[in-house]
C-alpha cells in the first residue's frame, strides 16, 4: 500500500452530482470515467454545471445547495444556497469575483479561492459563473 493510504479512492466522474462518497461498487465505473475525462478540458467543451458539481473540480455541492437544479444532489449547509443568483448579483463580474477569490470579500471565509489559488482555470471559472448565474 502506498503512502497515500492506498484504499479504494472514492472519487467520481465530473459529470455527475453524486454524493461526496461514492460506494466501492461504483468505484470501478467512476475510475474508468475519470481516466477518460481530461483534467483541463478545451474551452469549447467546458460544461459549467459539470465543473461546479463534480467533486474533482469545483465541488461546489460540498457546501452549497442549488435548489433550482434537480441534478444538484446535496444536503450541504456549509455555505448559503445558491438561488436567485441574478437578483443578488445583477453584475456578472461581481459573481465571478466571488468565485475567483471569495476571501477578498471575507478573509475568514471557508470558500476556496478558485482563481487566486488556481483550483480552476480562468476558462473554467467563466463556465461555472455562467452556470451559477442562471440558478
Amino acid at each position: 500500500m502506498t503512502r497515500r493510504g492506498g484504499e479504494p479512492q472514492r472519487r467520481q466522474a465530473v459529470t455527475t452530482g453524486m454524493p461526496i462518497f461514492v460506494s466501492r461498487r461504483r468505484f470501478a465505473a467512476a475510475a474508468l470515467a475519470l481516466l477518460l475525462t481530461p483534467t483541463v478540458a478545451t474551452a469549447a467543451a467546458l460544461d459549467g454545471r459539470a465543473i461546479a458539481q463534480g467533486q474533482e473540480r469545483g465541488n461546489c455541492l460540498a457546501c452549497h445547495r442549488m435548489p433550482a437544479d434537480p441534478l444538484a444532489m446535496t444536503d450541504a449547509t456549509l455555505g448559503p444556497a445558491l438561488q436567485d443568483v441574478r437578483k443578488r448579483y445583477p453584475d456578472r463580474s461581481q459573481l465571478r469575483a466571488q468565485i475567483w477569490d471569495a476571501a477578498a470579500r471575507n478573509p475568514e471565509t471557508l470558500m476556496p479561492r478558485y482563481g487566486r489559488h488556481r483550483i480552476l482555470t480562468d476558462a473554467e471559472i467563466d463556465a461555472v459563473t455562467d452556470y451559477v448565474f442562471g440558478l
Partner: protein
C-alpha cells in the same frame, strides 16, 4: 531569561483547559445531547441515521473481519507466547490508555505500535500499519477487548506535553488546496452538512476505531485522517509516522472520559 519569560508569558493552555473549552463549545452547539453519545459521531446528530446505524450494528456485515482478527490474536508466536502474554492485563481494558508517551524513547506509542512490539519481542516480523488484512483486523478484535472502558489518555510530563502540543499544532494547521484544518471541520463546522455527510465533533471521534465504512471497508484512525486530508487535497502524512502518532495523541485526549466501543459501522 527573556526567552523563558516569553515562553512562560504566552498562554499555552494546559491540556485539560483545551478540553474544557472545546467541551463547553459543543455543549452549547449540541445542547441536550448526552455526553456519552459523542462516540456515535455523525449519528449522534440525526435520529434517522442513528436508527439506521443501530439496525446495521445488530448484524454487522464486518463480523468476518473481527473473526479473522481473533484468529490472529489467538495464534501463538513462534516463541509460544501470545499478545495476551505480552500486553498489560492480558490486553483487556487497556486500549483507552493508548496512545501514551514513552519517556525512555521520547515518543508516542500507539495501540498498533504496542501490538507490533509484541511481535518484534517474540521474533515475528512487524505488520504494516496500513495493512487492513493483518494490523487492521487484529486491532478490530484487540480493541474490542476494551469495550466499555473509558478513554484515559494521560499527559503527565514535559515530554508528553511537547508531543501533545505538536499534535495540537497539526490539528489546527490549515493544509491543502482547500486551506482547511482538522478544526475547521470538526470544531468550527461540526454539525454542518458537507454534501450528504453531517460533520462529527472532534470530541468522541477516538472511541470506536477501527470503523467500517460502507459496512465493509476497515479504516484505522490514521487511515481516516488520511481520507480527510485527501478530501481537502492535502498530501497526507505517513500512516504510522510521527506526525500522525502525535496528532492521534492529541486527538485521542479529546475523547477522554468517553466509553470505548471498537469496530463500528460508518457511512
Amino acid at each position: 531569561m527573556l526567552a523563558i519569560v516569553a515562553v512562560g508569558g504566552t498562554a499555552v493552555a494546559a491540556p485539560k483547559d483545551d478540553l474544557a473549552t472545546m467541551r463547553s463549545r459543543f455543549e452549547q452547539r449540541f445542547a441536550g445531547v448526552p455526553a456519552d453519545d459523542y462516540g456515535f459521531g455523525t449519528f449522534m446528530l440525526n435520529r434517522a441515521a442513528r436508527s439506521h446505524y443501530e439496525d446495521i450494528m445488530a448484524f454487522p456485515p464486518f463480523l468476518g473481519d473481527i473473526e479473522r482478527g481473533k484468529t490472529l490474536w489467538e495464534t501463538r508466536f513462534r516463541s509460544g507466547r501470545t499478545y495476551a502474554d505480552c500486553l498489560p492485563a492480558g490486553g483487556r481494558m487497556i486500549a483507552g490508555n493508548y496512545p501514551y508517551y514513552q519517556p525512555a524513547e521520547d515518543r508516542v506509542v500507539t495501540f498498533e505500535m504496542a501490538l507490533n512490539r509484541c511481535r518484534a519481542a517474540n521474533g515475528e516480523a512487524e505488520y504494516r500499519y496500513d495493512d487492513r488484512a493483518t494490523m487492521g483486523v487484529l486491532t478490530a478484535y484487540a480493541r474490542s477487548l476494551s469495550d466499555g472502558m473509558r478513554m484515559n489518555i494521560s499527559i503527565d510530563s514535559d515530554g508528553a506535553k511537547a508531543r501533545y502540543e505538536d499534535g495540537k499544532r497539526l490539528f489546527y494547521r490549515r493544509i491543502g488546496q482547500m486551506n482547511f484544518s482538522c478544526a475547521t471541520c470538526h470544531v468550527n463546522n461540526a454539525g454542518n452538512v458537507m454534501r450528504m455527510e453531517t460533520i462529527s465533533p472532534a470530541i468522541g471521534q477516538a472511541t470506536h476505531f477501527p470503523i467500517f465504512r460502507g459496512g465493509d471497508t476497515l479504516y484505522t484512525a490514521q487511515m481516516r485522517f488520511t481520507r480527510c486530508m485527501e478530501q481537502v487535497r492535502a498530501q497526507p502524512f505517513a500512516i504510522g509516522g510521527e506526525d500522525f502518532n502525535n496528532l492521534e495523541y492529541f486527538h485521542a485526549y479529546l475523547s477522554n472520559g468517553l466509553p470505548l466501543q471498537a469496530s463500528v459501522y460508518r457511512r
